[in-house]
Amino acid sequence: MKFLGSMRHRSLMVSAGVVAMLAAGSGTASAAANCIKGDREAPYTIGWANIYSVPTWMKQTEGTIAAEVERLKKEGLVDELMITDAQGNAQTQIQHIQSMIDADVDAVIVIAGSSNALDRVISDACDKGIAVVNFDSLVNTDKVTAKINTDSSEWGASAAQWMVDQLGGEGKVIVMNGPAGISVSDDRRKGAQPVLDANPGIEILTETNTEYNVAPAQEAMTSLLFANPEIDGVLSLGGALSAGSILAFDRQGREQVPTTGENARQFLELWNEKGLKGWATMQPNWLGALSVYTAVQALEGKDVPAFVKVPLPVISDDTIDSYLARAEQFPADGYIYSDYDRALFDELLAQ
């Protein structure tokens, strides 16, 4: 089998899956999801191959994965969750996924440390009939059960559009970006460009590139405030950046301006406290929980889409209260993500 061409291999796998389903007499599903051979039975073992567990966003994401696994355990669908942390090393992540294959887990959930490096080991897992669900930072290969993500380009476009609407198409704006050369930062910025091009009344004063942390963002904005006496809006494309910006305005005694951002708790609280006009979206942490749920659905023989595009939840001046009401449940430097439930997951998987 291993020495057959990959195309032929895949068609063999699909037909094996179909045969298995016919034998099981499940007439509802039209076809098995990618990678699924139909030879695995509940309760399943899930492997969560994390690239780096230290950032708060990752810890919260792991929290949603663990919560979903607990739920699936009660339903008798999952019996074990194996967690690894590659400490930022893509080579170690390959080794971890290889170990998961060796341990014959039933599903691998993965945030990729490199878009290319994992391709071969993930294909190997797929060949073994392991459900592979990849979210947030995606791999190149299509030999996965499902990829799950939001659209970074849409993120940038929506933020820019809100700013244009706030300023009535006229005004001076500072753009705050994440680190240069990071794909998510590039993609968000690129997504904003067409909107800015279409509204020539919006003048970009300058742009910043900093880590997605409060301190460097505040420092960058502070020096920009000295240089620019007139600023009408801050188009920030990452959560903690906005908090840094608001703090800089506050320390300088400058009046707050409309500010975009991400769902960082610190930003949402400052937005509310300072009473400014704000807008935020998010990379929901429950993408992790959704990935586990998707893997189990696929293992259960349901057809799942090869790509699940998750719409960006939006926080506005009207809805921020509902988020702040739940703030205590989240870490002080964490992200207040939108509510989720099984109904939402089923709806997303029915795309």
């Binding site: 942390d85 400490q87 090393n89 893509a90 390959i94 080794q95 170990s99 341990a103 878009s115 290319n116």
Partner: protein
């Protein structure tokens, strides 16, 4: 007394002395391998053995590369960037008209050249290796990013399958590299590494071409690191301009674990191989034991400190009257 017998036993006597400090490491590595084999019996299948050794192979190569530098009395901070550059050159050239052979030659040439250039600067301008390689690491990283700004490139499938498929080709290559090292040590330039690293002035007075020894050792070190990059490219099927970064620290950890002294002239390749093997097998054992990630950080540190400290302590005990 037994002067006549000394020459016959000199080799074994020397080897025994060189092994003494490593007994603890050998035991720890053996224990980990046994535990791993019990947890994962698939290790004894060709496929399982192949995959395990493939994940270890690039670390073994970079640790050897680092050991070559440390035997000279220097440390290289450019090992990781060289791995990235090797991977990038492989991924960029193998799709071109020269094919796999051309890529192999380009990677080797780049590794040898960068190594020799670094060695030349260190040896003839008398600059510390750590400074030269720190500067070199920025330059090399920059070149890798210029050649391939985002992960990509092309490695032929057959080449990936050959090196990192379901056969233990990588392990065979490692054995060949070790034989090559033994052969190199039998040459004047090879044996000169220990002499020049341990006591450069003495070595110079005894007629060892200290500068040339350094340049050759640095060039070989560069070659090994670049070839590790070539292997990583084959293993992943593509090039990534930053994939090598963690190798710098891991190569130092592996070499120190393997008993290579920071000050030069002391250390063995067998120790180095065991050191890198411990770093690699540790990851798999902790996975199969189900250690949570946070505990893995702690355990990793304890194992490394333990493997270095135990032989030190036992030798101190032995030295006491």
């Amino acid at each position: 007394m037994t002067v006549t017998r000394v020459p016959a036993n000199l080799y074994t006597a020397v080897q025994r002395r060189r092994n003494r400090g490593l007994t603890g490491l050998y035991l720890v590595v053996a224990a980990f391998l046994v535990v791993y084999a019990i947890l994962f019996p698939g290790l004894f299948t060709i496929g399982g053995f192949s995959k395990f050794t493939q994940n270890w192979f690039p670390l073994a190569l970079v640790t050897m590369a680092q050991a070559l530098m440390m035997l000279n009395g220097g440390i290289s901070l450019a090992i990781g960037p060289l791995v990235s550059l090797g991977a990038v050159i492989a991924a960029v050239t193998m799709g071109g008209p020269l094919g796999v052979l051309g890529g192999l030659l380009a990677v080797s040439a780049a590794g040898l050249f960068i190594g020799a250039a670094t060695g030349g600067i260190v040896a003839y301008l008398r600059l510390p290796a750590i400074i030269v390689t720190l500067a070199g690491s920025f330059i090399i990283t920059g070149i890798a990013l210029l050649l391939l700004p985002r992960p990509g490139g092309y490695i032929p499938d057959w080449f990936s399958d050959l090196l990192a498929g379901h056969t233990p080709v990588a392990f065979g290559l490692l054995v060949l590299f070790l034989i090559g090292w033994k052969v190199y040590l039998a040459t004047p330039l090879g044996i000169g590494i220990y002499a020049a690293g341990n006591n450069p002035v003495g070595a110079y007075r005894s007629g060892v071409p200290v500068e040339r020894v350094k340049v050759f050792a640095f060039a070989l070190s560069g070659l090994l690191a670049a070839l590790a990059g070539l292997f990583v490219a084959a293993q992943t099927g593509s090039g990534d301009p930053v994939i090598g970064t963690p190798f710098t620290l891991n190569s130092i950890a592996g070499a120190v674990l393997g008993g290579v002294a920071f000050l030069g002239g002391r250390g063995t390749m067998r120790g180095v191989i065991c050191g890198s093997l411990l770093l690699s097998v540790m990851i798999n054992v902790m996975f199969f034991l189900g250690f949570p990630p946070v505990a893995q950080y702690v355990a990793q540190g304890l194992i490394i400190v333990g493997a270095v400290a135990v032989p030190q302590l036992t030798s101190q005990w032995r030295a006491k009257p």
